[in-house]
């Protein structure tokens, strides 16, 4: 048995109306890679924030290195040796790597002095990073390295990682795991939060499963089947998406030499994208974020109009049409960013349902809105996609990520699209909601709709796609049948892993 580094005893935290953590106790050993598993809303973030000093528990104690541990703020937690890499990066695009690292430090040295230190640490752990580069030019994997190096400079005893692989290619994931294993071998404990059970099985020594704020199981992920862990997480038997054999439909979407300049300084230009998509087909587009996914979706949705012939819906040229005209023609999109793009955070679900559904669902009469009809449409989305909310008059912001995602995807699906494009449909969504969304996409394809799924989650793409292609630096690879593709082949298609190296142990 390892020596205990951090012990949690009976941690309880209640928010108005919900108990986020109830009597949570477990131990993390020195040098242990400990997985924290749970659906969204299971209380993982609250627990992690408690350890990192962002949340004060209502009851319970923590012991770090045998001494009582109750950090008043993240600064105190950092001084005690706890570091955290967040799921959402907190970096400034317009500044260099070194400047960003200095900004996050408690007693910052000059950026110049830190540069040597960054080089040393990144070399040691196989995380190549040039301190002089502008963060806006870095890939998501490189940005994550900035965050990790920032933590490592503090020489942490416990490193918390929140969903670290959601933005990485398979090769980058492998490099990250090598780094984490090396850190663990040196005695650093790692608390690893993820939904991806295969990763946890490959990396972690112990897994603690949370459900509705309580610890429901502690297991050895190398000995426990991923399916069993998933069922512990949701507390129910999981359904894998089912795909029926589909007859080939007519060509519904055709992109010909789709080219567009980068919309802003840190955007990506689209370079000669060709694509043919038939009804009933699911095309998976893989790639690391920032390789043109947002731009491709904008060019398809009509937010970024292009030349008419570049996008054809069935036989009609729609490249120069605006958002609503394309919707009317049956080309619907679900953007990646739920809050602020796919949905307006402070508006009600009724208003959000109206937002994209007004045309196809006939929710207005000569510009005058039919609120009762909009409310009915919102209720229908809520009912058919199992969105957990008290009702359509609640704001989008009040929903959890997974529930809001079900709502915005459901909103598009219920409008009976001819072509549906979704970007990161299950990003940050719990396992049960993700399975439901994937199933809904497949059911849609069964009805003869052409579906494009853009995602960084390769497991997801392999699960739903008939064909697969990769988006790299604004270029789309030729598509290949998804069945039989190996992870290595996909990695080669994605590229972007050339500047990685394994840790110099």
């Amino acid at each position: 048995m390892r020596e205990t580094l951090l012990a949690l005893d009976g941690l309880t935290k209640a928010y108005p109306g919900v108990v986020a953590n109830r009597d949570v106790s477990f131990r993390i050993g020195r040098g242990e890679i400990h997985a924290l598993l749970g659906e969204n809303g299971a209380g993982k973030s609250t627990l992690v924030k408690t350890i990192y000093g962002l949340v004060k528990p209502d009851a319970g104690t923590m012991t770090l290195n045998g001494a009582g541990f109750a950090p008043a703020d993240p600064g105190a937690a950092r001084r005690a040796g706890v570091a955290m890499v967040f799921q959402h990066f907190s970096l400034f695009d317009a500044m260099t790597v070194a400047e960003n690292i200095v900004l996050g430090m408690d007693n910052p040295p000059s950026p110049r002095a830190i540069a040597g230190e960054v080089r040393r640490v990144s070399q040691l752990y196989g995380l190549p990073l040039d301190p002089e580069r502008i963060v806006g030019d870095l890939s998501a994997g490189e940005r994550q390295r900035v965050e990790i190096v920032r933590c490592l400079l503090q020489d942490p005893k416990l490193l918390i990682m929140d969903e670290p692989t959601s933005v990485l290619t398979p090769q980058e994931v492998e490099i990250l795991f090598t780094t984490l294993r090396k850190l663990a071998a040196e005695g650093t404990a790692i608390l690893y939060i993820s939904h991806k059970l295969s990763e946890i099985a490959a990396l972690c020594d112990t897994a603690t499963v949370l459900r509705q704020g309580q610890v429901v199981a502690t297991c050895d992920p190398r000995q426990t089947a991923p399916r069993e862990m998933a069922e512990l997480m949701v507390g129910a038997v999981l359904q894998s998406p089912v795909r029926a054999a589909r007859p080939e439909g007519p060509v519904l979407l055709r992109l010909r030499g789709l080219t567009a300049p980068a919309p802003h300084r840190f955007g990506t230009a689209l370079k000669g994208i060709d694509l043919t998509l038939r009804g009933g087909e699911v095309l998976g587009i893989g790639g690391v974020a920032g390789n043109g996914q947002d731009e491709l979706v904008a060019a398809l949705s009509g937010e970024m109009p292009v030349a008419p012939g570049m996008v054809r819906l069935a036989e009609a040229e729609v490249g120069d049409l605006g958002v609503n005209a394309r919707r009317a023609a049956g080309l619907l999109c679900g953007p990646e960013e739920r809050l602020g793009h796919a949905a307006a955070p402070d508006m009600t679900l009724t208003e959000n349902a109206l937002m994209t559904g007004v045309g196809r669902m006939g929710l207005d009469r000569r510009g005058f809105l039919r609120w009762p009809a909009a409310r009915d449409f919102a209720r229908k989305v809520i009912a058919e996609f199992d969105v957990r909310t008290p009702g359509p008059e609640n704001t989008a912001r009040s929903l959890s990520g997974g529930n809001l995602q079900k709502f915005v995807i459901g909103r598009e699906i219920l409008q009976a699209p001819r072509v549906l494009v979704v970007n990161q449909p299950t990003w940050g969504v719990d396992a049960a909601a993700a399975a439901a969304i994937r199933q809904a996409l497949l059911t849609l394809a069964d009805r003869g709709v052409a579906v494009i799924v853009i995602s960084q989650d390769l497991d997801e793409l392999m699960e739903v796609s008939d064909r697969f292609c990769a988006l790299t630096d604004g270029r789309l690879s030729a598509s290949r049948p998804a069945r039989g593709l190996t992870v290595d082949e996909i990695g080669m298609m994605l590229g972007g892993a050339h500047d990685l190296e394994v840790a110099h142990v």
Binding site: G302, G322, V323, M355, L369
Partner: protein, 360 residues
Amino acid sequence: MIVLDKRPQPSRLWSYAAPVLAVVLTMLVGGVLFAALGKNPVAVIRTIFLDPLFSEFAWFYRPQLLIKGAPLVLIAVGLSFGFRAGIWNIGAEGQYIIGALCGAAVGLALYPAETRWIFPLMIVAGAFGGWVWAMIPGVLKVKFGTNEILVSLMLVYVAESLLAAMALGPMKNPDGMGFPGSRNLAQYPSAANLELVAGTGLHWGVVAALIAVIFAYVVLARHIFGFQVRLAGQAPRAARFAGVDPARMVLICMGLSGALAGMAGLFEVAGPAGQVTIDFNVGYGFTAIIVAFLGRLHPVGILLAGGLMALTYIGGGIAQSNLGLPAAAISLLQGMLLFFLLAVDVLTHYRVRFAARKVA
């Protein structure tokens, strides 16, 4: 220690209660201020807020309330659309002046013809003038990405210079014995914006303000355009995703606020003011910004806020002449109203919790 927890959704109760609490706080702190000036705070507050309505001279002040309130409400309703959409037209004062000049120009050019079409024509010209003046910052923003706050504000000073030039030059009353200022439109029946019911202060501007309130209410609550305005302000990216063209939104909102401000200017110049003079504008365009926010950018709220602001104008005037209160104290009171509203607004979006400070 006071802790602020963000509410999952804004509190409905507080969004109504906040303006009331802001008024109460303004009265309290204003009272302290007046006491410090050596006045009886209760008497001053009563003079400002109650005397215009209930004193023995209220018959004189009540019509004033409509005359002062109407332009404020008319301008604020127009501004509220842009403010909701995140388009900041700060230059309503300039659009108000240009509207008055254009409307007055039509009236003066047709003098002394008498037909019933002159006044409607002047209203159209006034709205058009305000619209054109607002289109300058609008088009510059859409075409060149200039900041509409700066451009619209600077155009106020251009408009003031134009006003002075007109009052002293082309529009000067030829029978005015050399005095600056135009003919008095209020004495030209076809062009006059007279009281519709004698002794009430009810003129066409008041009618227009009420119509604007109803129109704005219907558009915001029931029409797709109102929905798009709200969406553009709350989540610009979501608005684009919903098919809202940002450039079009800028032009419509600027144009609407400009046209209403111009109309307000025309009603003023053809009625209560009567003539184009150097000091024709008295800051309605700027005060309307406070009215718009005090009314929560909601048409009915703006109607109430316009009334309240008119009250402080008139009551402040009484307090100045009867109690010798400095004019600056009244401006301070109006400023405080907005200040407290913004401060109390925290309660709408956050829940305040008193927590004992724990020793870590």
